[in-house]
Symmetry: C2
Subunit: 366 residues, 2 copies
């Protein structure tokens, strides 16, 4: 059976192209070896004793689309679930150029120095096309990768946001069972990946840069109100004053927002990931938030709600996909859209006609 | 056949309670008479010649849950659709106490004076329980009710938000066909009713009051970023200075937001609905926005998208309702939730087990 990982096996420059019928292999390219699959108990035991290599192998199973792999993966997750939950989960978002990778490297290095075990994950549904736009290149986090106690995993590149998000959420379970007590989930500042990340973390951090104009372009509206805190990065060199002005501006803006559900009042701090300054101020904010929400029980209520959210989200996605990805329906839907846009029929009548057709179709198919 | 409207027939104080077996009726309470239903053509002709009474009757059909009424209503809507669309649709939201009704009365009176035909509708899914918390009491808009060219209709009280929203959206079609060129949709500052209103209007106005603290309580996070403009009401008497400070604050906050999809830059103005000052400044903002978005074609693109949105929203709601309101499934879902919250099974496995059960159930029922 061909394992998805093997797709990359013959990548790279081809030498002697066309000389023989064997696949041409770049001799400087070392193909990944497929690790033979073991049974669930093997992975669970490895994870519970904190074996990073086995954890990485188990995450590969979680990310695999092969039914055989998924069967093992789900058993592993089930056995890890009772050992999960003991971590602080932080989502980090920001526009491209806000310095997310550098910030995570700076923060992560500090946290590991302080003895914490840190897992860095990512949600980026576009990573397949862009070949890992975030975290894909571990060399961008060279220092952190080499640090004891840090586990870095690029975004699963599995197409749909739902799929990517599921894999990241399940990876959190495995990391926590392996003893990682801090989980950072990086996400790009566009699309729906923030909502997904927001729905699996305790604290959601927005990384901003100075300025009020074009710098903000690219970040989705609504994300600012989703944030539990804002860190204004690049507060260094000639930028210090601008960053401090921005901090005041964001502080004033946040004060205008209605109270959060948690009762927490989000605020803004400045930092410089490059100079490693202020990074722990950001972390202090996270810790204060955790203390605050644990005290008023929002922390637990939120996690409970998130677990339910993912169950319902999975159900909803499946129910809708069955309708919209039905080949016959796709044509009908197109036609209905035309009718609605041509003012021939109301949106509601069109919807009900489609539903009737779908229900007839389901009966016929059985 | 009992018409829903008749439920209210025996309301009010009961006199001679228990004296006889006839329902006791409050002699001071005048029961609503049910208007006999006519065929679709009758209503369409009435609407197209701008007959307010017939328009009101047709809206009653749209709001009715009786299948026979719905059949006529949908025919009427279909015939009105080609005559709809020629209006400016404005959504208005704000916390209770922001003075929405007074503001609408002030603005509406001015608009009617200027010769516009104005329809005032509402979306308030809670109106059944609270007996019409918004617009329910027309006496709150006494002046406007008596103004020529104004058509005021309280929120349909039909339970689910989806149902209420559908009825309001269909009522817009009828009003536009009747020649109303300005439609205001009022909504309460809580819950999901804003999203619904936002999805059927061209311009979404947030009515605020001064202050940055408790006054903002009750408005949902995210609404500020949804607004195309902010009006700070109650800029009168000793409040003028505070309102102007608030305006600057909101102005600064809005500048921090990323650009809107329309390219429009939302801004804030002050007004006093009680003193009728600044109300037309708000309207100027709306007009500027309409001009701006018509020029860059966002206006049309947005309306197209809204029509599609309502078709898909109706489909999605129906597909999900069939699953969640299935009696057998309800029990299964409860059990699955318990399993997920007890860390016995992952959210994703639980979801797929439920979906399998549902699919078996559907097969059996056929």
């Amino acid at each position: 059976m061909q394992h998805p990982e093997n797709d990359e096996q013959y990548e790279g420059l081809t030498v002697n192209a066309g000389v023989d019928r064997l696949p041409t292999v770049n001799p400087y390219f070392k193909p990944k070896k497929r690790t033979p699959r073991r049974d669930a108990d093997y992975y669970v035991a490895g994870i519970l004793r904190g074996d990073m290599t086995i954890l990485a192998q188990a995450v590969t199973l979680v990310e695999s689309n092969l039914p055989a792999d998924q069967l093992i993966a789900q058993k592993v997750i089930e056995q890890c679930l009772p050992h999960s939950g003991n971590s602080v989960r932080v989502g980090i978002t920001g526009v491209p150029g806000a310095g997310k990778s550098t910030f995570i490297e700076a923060l992560g290095t500090e946290l590991c120095k302080a003895g914490q075990k840190l897992a860095v994950l990512a949600i980026d549904p576009s990573s397949e096309r862009s070949r890992g736009s975030i975290l894909g290149d571990k060399t961008r986090m060279q220092e952190l990768s080499a640090t004891d106690g840090a586990f870095i995993r690029p975004s699963p590149s599995a197409g749909s946001l739902g799929g990517v998000a599921r894999k990241t959420r399940e990876t959190i379970v495995l990391c926590e069972a392996a003893g990682y007590n801090t989980v950072l989930v990086e996400t790009v500042g566009v699309g729906q990946s923030e909502t997904a990340a927001h729905s699996m973390v305790d604290f959601f951090l927005l990384l901003q840069v100075t300025g009020t104009g074009d710098e903000l372009q690219g970040i989705k509206r609504g994300i600012m109100e989703m944030a539990d805190g804002i860190a204004i990065n690049k507060c260094d060199g000639s930028n210090v004053e601008k960053a401090q002005v921005a901090r005041t501006q964001f502080k004033n803006a946040l004060a205008l927002f209605p109270p959060t559900e948690s009762g927490w009042k989000p605020y803004a701090v400045t930092c410089s990931a490059v100079e490693h300054t202020g990074v722990m101020d950001v972390w202090n904010m996270v810790e204060k938030y955790i203390e605050f929400t644990k005290k008023n029980t929002f922390f637990t209520r939120n996690r409970t709600r998130q677990a339910k959210y993912w169950m319902y989200e999975t159900i909803n996605q499946h129910l809708l996909d069955s309708f919209y990805h039905n080949e016959t329906m796709e044509e009908e839907i197109e036609e209905a859209e035309r009718q609605v846009l041509g003012n021939k029929v109301s949106s509601f009548v069109a919807a009900h006609e489609l539903l009737d057709k779908y229900s007839t179709l389901c009966r016929q198919q059985q």
